[in-house]
């Protein structure tokens, strides 16, 4: 039995046990979305090929070792999924993919450029004829329609097009954007919500649907407040470092040590009074011009410099514990190293140890929510390319050993 188990190792039920999903495509945005299904018990099969591998399968690998089964990011993002290798440039490979979708899957998720699925005859219009209750979701950068639908792009461009780059940086310098290709982490949350809503609907009506999610649109939708300020007031709000219009101090402050920082935010005058007391009420903190938000905003440069002179003599952890104990918002600017030692993330079991057959031991990361009764789990390593071929050929597609051998020989499986 190779289906994803219906209960977790602790005996708890899985929310989506029995759900069957086929995934085509690669990179981050599509596959991350399907983790919401895989982590909660869905059986997810990725259709891949060795001739055109997912670029994440080689991302970051050196010239000398180009194995398709050891790229860390791919394995970390695709745990809990299975992989079957089908050569989609051969019509027989496409036919097998079609059979897997039509005869087995409840959901088809893909994030190719719009023309790819049509080329293979695996677009929704073709598939719905064969499987009327199919739920299919497509997630490309710009969407399936419109003048720029075929524009080839990755998350880096998505962050630029949707505004996130423009909004991150110092007012006197170039836009830097937030680290990470932000649409790649933001869009999957929307894709998952849309698919889950369609599944709830299907439970009631038995009907499927096609879902078109443009990654840049999920990002621009998220920025509705920014967009409305332009639409209603004609105001183009610019990046402003770490400052806020409704809080001061509000930013990151240098602490003792090598590039150590903490955040501090005072959202009202009570916060400010608590902060002043917590740092020992030095003379400058009692300056009446800092007593109101308006005053603090008017003298924000001075305020930040004075506060930095206090934090600069202290460790970031000490600042945070002093301020949080006094009810003032503060946080360590955590590096990747800090995240691995963060007691709160540890409490949530955020990093799950996985023993990978090729990559070795590493961690996979949980989603941003924890469910009390059906927590789900990470039970499978990121799949080796074609690792689950036998299961798919024999148990699902019911191919004979001779057929499999022949197709292998002719390069259809691989």
């Amino acid at each position: 039995m190779r289906e994803t188990s219906s209960t977790s190792s602790t005996g708890k039920a899985k929310a989506l046990a029995g759900l069957k999903v086929v995934e085509l495509g690669g990179g981050a945005a599509g596959p991350i979305a399907i983790r919401h299904l895989a982590d909660h018990g869905a059986t997810v099969i990725r259709i891949e090929s060795a001739s055109r591998p997912d670029f994440l399968r080689v991302l970051g690998l050196s010239k000398t070792n180009r194995s398709l089964d050891r790229a860390p990011m791919f394995m970390m993002l695709n745990c809990n999924k299975m992989s079957v290798a089908l050569n989609l440039s051969d019509p027989r490979g496409v036919a097998l993919a079609r059979r897997l979708i039509v005869e087995w899957a409840d959901v088809l998720a893909e994030n190719y450029a719009p023309k790819a699925m049509k080329k293979w005859g695996l677009d929704y219009q073709s598939l719905v004829e064969l499987k009327p209750d199919l739920i299919m979701v497509s997630t490309c950068l710009m969407g399936q329609t419109g003048p720029n639908k075929d524009y080839p792009g990755f998350g880096g461009q998505g962050s630029a097009i949707s505004g996130f780059n423009y909004l991150t940086g110092w007012p006197d310098r170039e836009a830097t954007g937030q680290h990470g290709t932000i649409t790649d982490s933001l869009a999957p949350r929307f894709v998952a919500a849309a698919v889950l809503a369609a599944l709830l609907r299907k439970q009631k009506t038995g009907e499927g649907t096609y879902i078109d999610v443009a990654q840049v649109e999920t990002a621009a939708y998220s920025l509705s407040g920014w967009m409305l300020e332009y639409f209603a007031n004609g105001e183009v709000v610019r990046r402003d470092g770490n400052r806020s219009r409704v809080a001061a101090p509000h930013g990151a402050f240098r602490c003792r040590g090598n590039d150590r920082w903490c955040t501090i935010a005072c959202h009202d005058d009570d916060d400010w009074r608590r902060l002043a007391r917590a740092i020992g009420s030095p003379g400058w903190a009692l300056d009446p011009r800092f007593a109101t938000l308006e005053g603090r905003k008017a003298s924000e440069d001075d305020l930040e410099a004075l506060l930095a002179s206090w934090t600069g003599e202290r460790g970031a952890e000490d600042v945070v514990s002093t301020l949080q104990s006094a009810g003032v918002e503060a946080g360590v600017v955590e590096t990747p190293r800090d995240l691995n030692a963060d007691p709160q993330l540890a409490h949530r079991g955020h990093f799950v140890p996985v023993q990978h057959a090729v990559l070795g031991p590493h961690t996979c990361e949980r989603l941003g929510y924890a469910l009390s009764a059906t927590p789900g789990e990470i039970e499978r390593q990121g799949p080796l390319l074609g690792e689950h071929g036998t299961y798919v050929y024999r148990d699902i597609l019911r191919l004979s050993e001779q057929e499999v051998a022949a197709l292998h020989g002719e390069g259809v499986l691989g």
């Binding site: 809503a197 649907t209 963060d342």
Partner: protein, 411 residues
């Protein structure tokens, strides 16, 4: 048009950190009822305001993220208010809440109590760090959860402080993540027969924005600092955001099968512009691997590109890139996004006729387009207490009782 979540009801007790979750669910079809204190949600009292007029019905954040919801007022601390709330809960499938732990305790709204009284309810908590654990009582708004989620340390210039995004991006990651978690829990009711707690941590949601960076550090122990508009690739820094004639564009020097045509098209473009680019001309792009470059090679590839970009305005660069298949993108501001042909052609923006406020404005809409279902904006954000009579009437509270509750300050 029908919507996928028709028939579901969600009570939205969230503040700004959770607004987006309810808006998504409402546009997917749930009847999302925003429950505010009789004095109004705090977001109504924060700028910016439409037209610059400080009026709780014109707060931009309120209008942008509570569209498509209905709205009632209710004093949850008052005994009559709580009784009314329990009657509402009996009609609901899910609750979204964002209370700090002290308020949650005072209002007796914690998961266990709600579950005991209303076993069908899914309770979704969106908090800075999660409902339990050593930081559960820590305060944290966007800037702090972005820092503690690991994004900030890697964002910004090396000679200045780590940076957040000027709009609170963690509320978007967390809100959309919450919507997904809540829907998984609604599906799980079919398996376990009851609701459960969905404990969203904004910090945890932000960890995924650095794309496995934390898990990769645990393997290679390589500390990566802030590198501004460039990305560390191999042993080099490769620029991602470039200055152009009138703004900025995004372009990466990466290779790989999907990017080969774009690199070839860039090479042709540089030649047509007669920009000297020996590092580009005649290169075997199929064999090109950006991971193996030296910094000198990166610089030799970068200089002619920068020359090209400085010659032309952002719009022209993008239109040409679309035509040529070059993977370049404009660093858009809100005006450029509002006027973009692609989004307009997909009817991504919808005009909201907010007649009750005498306003008309556009909003981004339809984060997902569905062949069988509608997902559009369903109307302007509710006025304070706009649907009191309608919502309370539907659970059997008479008009006279509504008036009485209003006089008593409960609604």
């Amino acid at each position: 048009m029908q919507r996928p979540l028709d028939g579901f009801r969600v009570l939205d007790l969230s503040d700004e950190t959770g607004f987006l979750c309810g808006r998504m669910l409402a546009e997917l079809g749930a009847d999302v009822v925003k429950v505010e204190p009789p004095s109004g949600d705090p977001a109504r009292f924060r700028p910016p305001y439409v037209g610059g007029i400080a009026d709780p019905e014109r707060a931009v954040t309120w209008l942008a993220y509570n569209a498509s919801k209905r709205g009632v007022t209710l004093d949850l601390a008052a005994a009559e208010g709580r009784a009314l709330f329990d009657r509402l809960c009996a009609t609901a499938d899910a609750i979204v809440e964002t209370y700090d732990p002290a308020t949650l305790a005072v209002l007796k709204l914690d998961w266990a109590m709600l579950h005991a009284a209303h076993p069908q309810l899914v309770v979704c908590s969106i908090t800075p760090f999660g409902r339990t654990g050593p930081y559960a009582a820590f305060r944290g708004s966007d800037v702090t959860v972005t820092a503690m989620g690991g994004n900030m340390a890697l964002t910004g210039d090396p000679d200045r402080a780590p940076l957040r995004c000027t709009m609170p991006s963690s509320y978007y990651h967390g809100g959309a993540e919450a919507a997904s978690g809540l829907l998984v829990a609604l599906l799980a009711r079919g398996v376990i027969g009851e609701g459960q707690h969905v404990d969203v941590s904004l910090q945890a949601a932000m960890v995924s924005t650095i794309m496995t960076g934390a898990s990769q550090w645990a393997m290679d122990r390589r500390d990566r600092g802030r590198t501004g508009a460039s990305y560390p690739v191999g042993k080099t820094l490769q620029r991602e955001v470039w200055r152009c004639k009138d703004g900025f564009v995004s372009y990466a020097l990466r290779g790989g099968p999907a990017r080969v045509p774009g690199l070839q098209a860039t090479e042709r473009w540089l030649a047509e512009e007669k920009i000297a680019a020996p590092a580009w001309q005649g290169r075997d792009w199929k064999a090109y691997n950006h991971n193996d470059l030296t910094q000198d090679q990166v610089d030799a590839l970068s200089a002619p590109l920068q020359e090209l970009f400085l010659r032309k305005p952002m719009r022209e660069l993008f239109d040409e890139s679309v035509r040529r298949g070059v993977m370049l993108a404009p660093v858009n501001d809100s005006r450029e996004i509002a006027n973009g042909a692609q989004l307009r052609s997909r009817e991504f923006f919808v005009e909201v006729d907010d007649a009750k406020r005498g306003l008309r404005y556009e909003l981004p809409a339809r984060f997902a387009q569905m062949s069988r279902y509608g997902t559009d904006v369903r109307g302007a954000a509710p006025l304070l207490g706009e649907h009191n009579a309608e919502v309370y009437g539907a659970i059997g509270v008479s008009a006279a009782e509504v008036d009485e509750l209003r006089r008593a300050g409960v609604i």
